[in-house]
Structure formats: structure tokens, C-alpha cells
Symmetry: C2
Subunit: 480 residues, 2 copies
């Protein structure tokens, strides 16, 4: 257990960031391009300028709608054993999402990602204990026309019993996905009792702009009652001020604006403060999600989320490295520990290289171990009289050894995290085993899993029903 989170701001400073975000919403306002959104804002007390499409938020309105946010958010899995509620079951770990490219696990070359990659990654996430949630990891170049989203959600849901989250480019496709899920669940009612997909949207384009289509998704998903969440993605120096504090204030204002709209549509809809705030490298304006500033900003978001009593999710563990080298390792390790100790409840963090452009199977496995290390940190020092171990220390005495005590043997497999991929051999053993780096060892683990049949897949019956409804559906087979 962590007795006290790491906090970059004092409580008074948190309140001042809150004040600054209210000031932004009241004075600068939000550009709301979606007419239905603007009408909703106007009808519920915001000031809308019809010409500029700028919505300004009286402070009382923000407070009123913030108050109807529940403190928790639940992700359902196809199998209820994998249901997870934030923050109670946290910290949770999801893989990273939506890369267009992938490192082919057999050729080692970068190529466009396909639906079978999604199937395989879904199976891996199902098997890897570090992950709680499957995010749609990559796009699918082989998707038949009109089936882009189905070609991503079908292989994911087919191969994974854990909660699945992702985005759909259009509401039509979102509806098709929900229809498919109803088939999987056995009935419409069964699905909506425990909806085992969650939809992401990006209703805000920083700075302070709510787009037409994504706002429509926000409205419909909220009306339908499907779990959904909007990611806020300011980039300091380009789409937010080049100070981490100013970016946090803007990010908070954007979160509040979306929250108000969601609560206006349906009061009590669960919300997550879900953000990917970054700072650009101003030498080249390169996108730098692997920079330590991502971790710092995320710690700030976690403090704001706690202030608002909503769960916090973050996209961390990103790297700008092109291959899974030391940079990839430390960039992933550092921002995720910062986020976890800062109190982020859900970390989307597994598998991506190259500023989120390229998925790597081996990195997915490695990041799963990092996820387990993060969870070991949150177990902490496990305070209890038994764990204080004065008895065994007294028995062993000065100069003795603990190796063969009952106390030690009893805890040999549980006290510490015991990795599968990380190497702890002596150098000569490691050399005679082929001197493999962690990428190579992780790829072996990938192959070990993907050469077995996946017990998580649907029954042929269910599969046949789904395939009957969606012509040309991709195979969704995870075997390598």
C-alpha cells in the first residue's frame, strides 16, 4: 500500500490550478463547433456566442455539473472475472493503442499492421498477467471496405476475455460493433447489463476546441450508456503554453468542459480524467511522448483528478526510440513509475515504440512485466507484525543466514516479483544460452504463447452467428 502519493503541488496550489481552469472556461471559453453541443451548453446556462461559436462557462455551472460525476468507472470483460472498477481495483494496466505500423515478429521489419496482429496481441494481453484491459493496439490495413472498426474489434473481442477499449471512426461503425457485441453476449439485454467494450473519443482538440464529429460521439455514447471516455492531448509549445503548469491548467479546463457536457446529457455518467499531455521538443518541434515531461504532467493530472474525486487514467510509458533499446526501457520505466506513485489509476502503457507509431510484440511482453513491477510497488512494504519478522531475526541471530528458514521458504514465491523475461543469470550462463537481449527473450515468450491454441475464443456457434451477420469479416485467428 502507498501511504501517501507523490505530489508536485500543494493542496493550495491544486485549488489555484482549479481556479485558473475556471477562469479559462469563464473568460477564454471553448470553441464548440458542434451545433447540438452548443445548443446543450446554451440550454443549461452557458453563454454561447452564435457567431464565434465560443461557449463561456459561469463558475456555478461548472460546479453544478461536476457534482453529478460518480467517483468510480467500471470496465467489464467478456468474462466477468475480469471486470475492473476504478479506482477501487487500481492501479490498472492497459496496453497502448492505435499504432499504424508494427515490427513483424518473424522478419523484424516494420510493416503496416493488420487484423491478425490485433488477434495475436489480444491473445497475448489475455495471457499476460500484467494487463487488465486490452486497448485496440493497432490499425488494420486489411480491413474490408466499410469494416475498419469491425476488423479491429472482432479479433480483439474474439481472443480476449478482459475488457476491450477502442475508438470507432464513425457512429455507424460504433453501432455495428455494439450489434456484434450483443451477438457475443447472447442477447441485447445480456450485453447492456455488462457492456464489455468501452469507446474512446477525442472531443477536444487543444487548445479548447470541441470538434463536430467527436462531440457527436460524446453525445451519443453518453445517451446510449456505453462506457466511454474522452482523451485530452495538449502538446506544450504547440497546442498549449510551453509551461508544464499552464498546460496542466488548460488540460484541466478541457476536462471540465467535456465533463459538463457529458453530465448535461446524462447526469451521473461515469467520467475519467484521461489525458496524454506532452511537451514538444522545441529544437525541432518533434512530438516527444517519451520525454520525462509526460510523466510530470501526468502526476499533475492525477492530483487534479483526486481533487475532483474522479478516477485518473493516463497514456504513459511511451518512447521515441525506434527499437527496444535502453532508451525505450528507461523512457517506459520512468514515466510509468512517476504516474503510479503520483496516483494514476489506469496506465495505458504497453507495446509502442517510435512516438506511438510502431507496435512491437516483444515490448508488449516486456511492458507487461513492467506493469507487474508497478503493482509490486503499490503492494509496498506490507506493514504487519508478521512481516516485521522479529521472530526469525531473533532465531537466526547476528551472523546467521535466512536462506533455509521456514519463514523464508514460505515466502520464496510470493514476497518478491519473479520475472519471466528479465534476465538474472550469471554472465557465463547467459552467454551459453545465446547471449539474448530482452527483446529476443520476449519474442521467444511471444512465440511460446502464440503457438498454443487460445482457450478464450468464442464457441464456433457464436462465431458462426457473428460471421453470418458481417460478410467478409476478417478471420481473427491468433495463431502464429
Amino acid at each position: 500500500m502507498i501511504a501517501h502519493r507523490a505530489e508536485l503541488l500543494t493542496q493550495e496550489q491544486v485549488q489555484q490550478v482549479h481556479e485558473a481552469s475556471l477562469e479559462i472556461l469563464e473568460s477564454v471559453g471553448v470553441l464548440a463547433r458542434n451545433r447540438e453541443g452548443r445548443d446543450l451548453f446554451a440550454r443549461h446556462g452557458c453563454h454561447v456566442d452564435g457567431e464565434t461559436q465560443i461557449v463561456r462557462f459561469p463558475r456555478a455551472i461548472v460546479g453544478q455539473y461536476l457534482a453529478t460525476c460518480p467517483p468510480t468507472f467500471t470496465y467489464h470483460g467478456r468474462d466477468p472475472r475480469y471486470d475492473r472498477t476504478l479506482p477501487d481495483d487500481g492501479p490498472l494496466v492497459a496496453n497502448s493503442s492505435s499504432a499504424p505500423d508494427i515490427l513483424d515478429p518473424e522478419t523484424g521489419q516494420v510493416r503496416r499492421a493488420r487484423s491478425e496482429d490485433i488477434a495475436r496481441i489480444a491473445y497475448l494481453v489475455n495471457e499476460l498477467p500484467g494487463y487488465d484491459i486490452l486497448a485496440l493496439p493497432v490499425t488494420a490495413e486489411d480491413a474490408p471496405p466499410g469494416q475498419f472498426s469491425i476488423s479491429r474489434f472482432y479479433p480483439a473481442l474474439k481472443n480476449c476475455l478482459k475488457p476491450v477499449r477502442g475508438s470507432a471512426p464513425s457512429l455507424e461503425e460504433a453501432k455495428a460493433i455494439l450489434r456484434m457485441c450483443e451477438q457475443m453476449a447472447g442477447s441485447e439485454a445480456a450485453f447492456w447489463e455488462r457492456p464489455f467494450v468501452a469507446f474512446q473519443y477525442c472531443a477536444t482538440v487543444s487548445p479548447l476546441t470541441m470538434d463536430v464529429e467527436s462531440t457527436e460521439k460524446l453525445l451519443r455514447y453518453t445517451e446510449w450508456g456505453v462506457p466511454s471516455f474522452g482523451a485530452i492531448v495538449p502538446n506544450a509549445g504547440l497546442t498549449s503554453p510551453l509551461t508544464l503548469l499552464g498546460t496542466l491548467a488548460q488540460c484541466t479546463a478541457e476536462f471540465l468542459a467535456e465533463t459538463v457536457l457529458v453530465q448535461m446529457v446524462r447526469a451521473g455518467t461515469p467520467r475519467v480524467f484521461d489525458a496524454l499531455p506532452t511537451a514538444a521538443d522545441m529544437r525541432t518541434v518533434a512530438y516527444a511522448p517519451g520525454a520525462i515531461e509526460t510523466g510530470i504532467l501526468t502526476m499533475g493530472c492525477a492530483q487534479m483528478a483526486r481533487y475532483y474525486q474522479v478516477p485518473c487514467a493516463a497514456f504513459v510509458g511511451s518512447t521515441n526510440a525506434k527499437l527496444n533499446d535502453a532508451q525505450s526501457g528507461y523512457e517506459t520505466g520512468m514515466s510509468t513509475v512517476a504516474a503510479m506513485l503520483g496516483g494514476v489509476d489506469l496506465l495505458a502503457m504497453g507495446g509502442l515504440l517510435d512516438a506511438m507509431m510502431t507496435f512491437d510484440y516483444a515490448k508488449l511482453v516486456i511492458d507487461g512485466e513492467i506493469g507487474l513491477m508497478l503493482k509490486r510497488i503499490t503492494r509496498g512494504l506490507e506493514f504487519s507484525e508478521e512481516n516485521m519478522a522479529l521472530g526469525v531475526l531473533s532465531d537466526v541471530g547476528p551472523g546467521g543466514t535466512f536462506v533455509e528458514t521456514r519463514h523464508t521458504l514460505k515466502r520464496a514465491r510470493t514476497e518478491t516479483f519473479l520475472p519471466t523475461v528479465a534476465d538474472r543469470q550469471m554472465r557465463h550462463q547467459w552467454q551459453s544460452g545465446g547471449a539474448l537481449d530482452s527483446e529476443a527473450r520476449a519474442l521467444q515468450h511471444v512465440r511460446d504463447i502464440l503457438r498454443r491454441d487460445n482457450p478464450a475464443v468464442f464457441s464456433p456457434d457464436v462465431d458462426a452467428k457473428i460471421r453470418a451477420q458481417f460478410e467478409n469479416l476478417v478471420p481473427g485467428d491468433a495463431r502464429l
Copy 2:
């Protein structure tokens, strides 16, 4: 600034760990093999069993001698600009120390380390802004008989103006080093006014045993008034209980026992809670300093150090990886962020692979960048009205861009950490630059530095005086 450190224990639990460590010292006691040490303990109120050599500590005695510890510890550099005081100037970063082997920067092969490696690493640490302190990084196979320590301290001090710390195998060698330092300083008085070396000893062999020779070092270093510190290195499952909490309690008892002895010799001698607590991998009893448990235990030590109001130092960022791969990166990144956010004041963390057996020049450079990332975290969100940036946000407005504002241009080189080695290029740029991994890029940086003359070296005059006094002295040249 970090408003609140991450804490794994509540304040009440910290007190209970303190109580447990007092209980250990009172009931179990410490095996003190050094007669002079035992006599000192006995003379100042401890209960000494002459037959078993066990020393037991009345609680009041521990409290009495703990009270004379000052709250700070100062490292001096050969150049006073590099003087650093803990915790005021912290967090500080030192490189890691004492590996017998090194990855040759030209052949890429592992070989025994030599004195010229120390010279080169000293020059690198002098140049790399991430490091505050040079720890003697490796042993020196080429040391002439009787000059093992001189062959390590001379090339280190010759090539680095920052504080230098290390250990000497014997008191005779420690004296020779101090004599050499007096030459460097120009006079005995000049050196002792600002002693620019610090000596490490390991007076405690866990569990709870104070050795003959290292206790003698503790006694003499304290009498002489040379900055010195004892590292506590319990290994859960072997030399301490296989619970992290029990290991922390034992570690704390060991720190207190040493502290009491130091204060008995000379009240007011600065102390650092300096520890490397680890947990063994009980599947093979492998030494696993790269395990996340090192970071967790270190966070616990930092809490105990704050409770005692003494600075905390830790040996973190270690890895079990044999080469600088993703595992090396995340193991280094994770434990160092945990330690930093947990409040460790000095992190010894740079350059070691293979469970501290092998030094890697490239990793030294990479870990220097990690050090700068850690320091960027501690800058935090830099709360101020100006940094809240409401003015520029209002000017830019919803949908605008910050890239060319005065506000952004003014901060382009200072707001974020801008790495030298980490890659942030587009994939095609990276490929046309040779598709180098971070190890290869860091090695380029190593060569860039080591092919220049080192302006930090002594004048030929001083060097001649030193060489006249120590026959057969190694060259200590850093050029590659």
C-alpha cells in the same frame, strides 16, 4: 519542487519500524568482532558479552547518540564550485562503483578494468552535467603491487574537479591517498579545510555483524575527520528476512548501531543513511539488485532517514542485464524514479551492468541523461502566476497555436529537458543516420569527449610532485 514525497509507510508505521529496530538492538544485539569497537560500546553504556562478542543497546543510549548527528553532510570537490551539501543541494547523482570488469569501448568485449578506465570515466563524469559526484567506478587490474588504491584515486582525482568518493582496502592505503590529496591541495592545511575525498566502508555485514577491519576504518576515518560513510547491504532471503518490511527494520537497526559508534568516537560527525538493500531471487538465490524491490526498500530507507533527520543515500539504478538493452533501461529508470520521488537525497546510479559486475561507458552517458530527467522531475510543475500562462492562452485563444509566441520562444531551451543522446527523430531520419541504438549513440558521445584534452587535470608541477612521491604511479591519462 515536490510538495509531498511518495511514502510507503504512514508516520505511525515509521515509528513502529523505529521501535522494531530498537527492539532488535536491545534484544538480539550486534556481533561486534572488533575489540576496540566493543570496548567503546561498553565504555559508553552498551551491554557487551565478552564471550559471544554480542553488544546490546539500551534504548536511551541509541537516542542519546542519535541526537548528536547533524542534519547535513558535505562533499567537497577539488574545485569548490562543485561542493555539494546534502540534503540542501539534493537530489545529487553519483555514478556507480567498484565493478571488476568493463565493456571495452573499442572492442565491445568484456575485460578486466584498468586504471586508464578510471581516468576516462573521471573525465566523463567531470563533463556530464547529470553527475554531481564521482564514485570510483571500477577496480584497476594494472595497479602496481601495494598501490591498488592510489592507482584508483589518482586517475580519478586527476581528471575530475567534482567530489570523489571511494573505498580503500587498508588504512595504510587510505593514509597514502590522504597524503596524495594534501599534495594536490598544496598543503596539509589546505586539504583538511576542504577534504575533497570521501571514504566508504562496510562496517556492517548483515545480519547485524560488525567486522574487524571495516570497524577499524569507521573508527579511524571518524577520528581523522575525513568525510566517510558506511553502506548497509542486507539481501532479503539470505542475510535478512524475506520480507521487505523485516529487511527495512534490520537495515535501520544496522544503521543505528553504526551511527551510535561513530557518535561515540566523535559527537557531531555527519552521517548519511546509506544503504543498498536488495531481495534475492529465491528461485536461484541470484543477486538481483535490478529487481524493483531495491527501489521499494530504498523508499523505506528514505522515510527512516527523514524520521532521523539525516540525509539519505542509495545505490539504485542497478540492472541484472548483461548488455544495455530494454531491461537495463527500465530497471535503471524505475528504481531511480522510485528513490527520487521517495525522497532519497543522493543516488549512486550510473554505468553498471550485470548485477554491478561490469561497467559500461555508454551506460554512464545514458544514466547521466536519466539523472537530468530525475532532476527535471524534482523541478516539478514550478508553480507561479507567470507559469500558469493565462495571458498567452487568452491571446492565442481556442483553436490557435503557441509555437511562435514570445512566451514559447522565451522558454524553448529551458522549460523541458533536452537530451543529447536520446533519439527523437522521425524513423526515416533515424534510418538514414545509421539506425543507431542508444548504446551506439552514447558511445559516440563518449568518444567525442575523450578525444578532447581534459582541462580539469592538474598542472604539470603538481603532477610532478605527486609522481615523485609515488614511484611506479599509473599514468592516469584519460585520452582515448
